[in-house]
Symmetry: C2
Subunit: 211 residues, 2 copies
């Protein structure tokens, strides 16, 4: 397919396309070579090996996660907007994000978001170590939530299903609770509710008690 001489960028582009469509497991050196119309071994000249090819893809993804622009009137609202933006961007690149995660670069990918959080926590009046704790707590919560959510979506058919797990025996005196837990969660609503609750507590509450 490559009418001109093969290029590292061409290799990366083809690899990214394979990963976006079918996930990282579908990215084999041989399929990639077929896609590019070259010998398998040419790829090695340009990218070293499969591992560093994946590294390069991950690096690209990290770069693509651009700066974050918080919107809203209060710090809480602006932090919520950051959370919402992150959720959207991550959901658009599930396979690549998973690779970033596997490579342990999630933290670095979230640096722009972290800086935005610092700004908002500051605006809310927190300083020093307390502000750092708040930033990290929110960041961990957002990232963690999204990992769990992704996991739920990839879930095979659960057996037993959540609805079977929550028959009324589990909470005999609160059938509405059992019914609510038997229903599937609304992830976006739960996400915003959780972030709001945590942020509210961190920004306005008293300092947490020592353990």
């Amino acid at each position: 397919m490559a009418r001109t001489t093969l290029t590292r960028d061409e290799v990366l582009a083809a690899a990214a396309s394979l990963v976006k469509q079918h996930g990282p497991a579908a990215l084999t050196m041989r399929k990639l070579a077929a896609e590019l119309g070259t010998a398998v071994t040419s790829i090695y000249w340009h990218v070293g090996n499969r591992e560093s090819l994946l590294d390069a893809l991950v690096e690209r993804t990290v770069q693509e996660m651009g700066a974050i622009r918080p919107v809203g009137r209060t710090p809480v609202e602006r932090i919520l907007s950051v959370a919402r933006t992150l959720r959207r961007e991550l959901r658009e690149r599930p396979h690549l994000i998973a690779m970033v995660h596997e490579r342990g670069l999630t933290e670095r990918m979230f640096l722009p978001a972290q800086q935005a959080l610092v700004h908002e926590v500051h605006a809310a009046g927190l300083r020093g170590a307390r502000a750092a704790d708040a930033v990290r707590a929110v960041q961990f919560q957002i990232v963690g939530y999204l990992l769990v959510e992704r996991n739920r979506e990839r879930s095979p058919v659960q057996s037993p299903a959540e609805s079977e797990l929550w028959d009324p025996r589990a909470a005999p005196d609160d059938p509405e609770l059992a019914r609510a837990l038997a229903r599937p969660a609304d992830p976006e609503r739960l996400f915003l509710l959780s972030v709001r609750a945590l942020v509210h507590s961190l920004l306005t509450g008293p300092p947490p008690a020592p353990r």
Copy 2:
């Protein structure tokens, strides 16, 4: 090695041992056969194929995560004890937990914990849909946090390191904040601080505002 006839349980035990020591990628059918002193193909008779062998290991792990016994005087403290217990148990089985996660069974593994949380949220006076939201928010936060923490630990050498990312330019008027963010986080402290803040807000705060 198997002096007597090969058994499905023997296969599972040997496989679990390989995974615990070197992770799921090290579990190849050929190595497993060598470990058991049988032909590769014998294993197929007992467990079907590699995929269902992994499924069986995951199933075992889910069963092993026994019931949770909350301790403490207040609901908040008892929920914190659940969080601490989960953290410890997960950290003892990193590879197997990762496999559970990859298979989308994390939720099911956490059912005993979820039931404990229901009990505590109830004790704190929440009912119905509001209680269900609180349970799920806490559960998602705990699981999510542990996934992020695991990721951090597996992290290769970060480049640029967190400490380089946080030079004083990022927060010019708060050098203590920059210093705090440049230091590595204390995961257990941050974990308990986060859970405490979220739980406090969910159990005692006003209902969160609509979005």
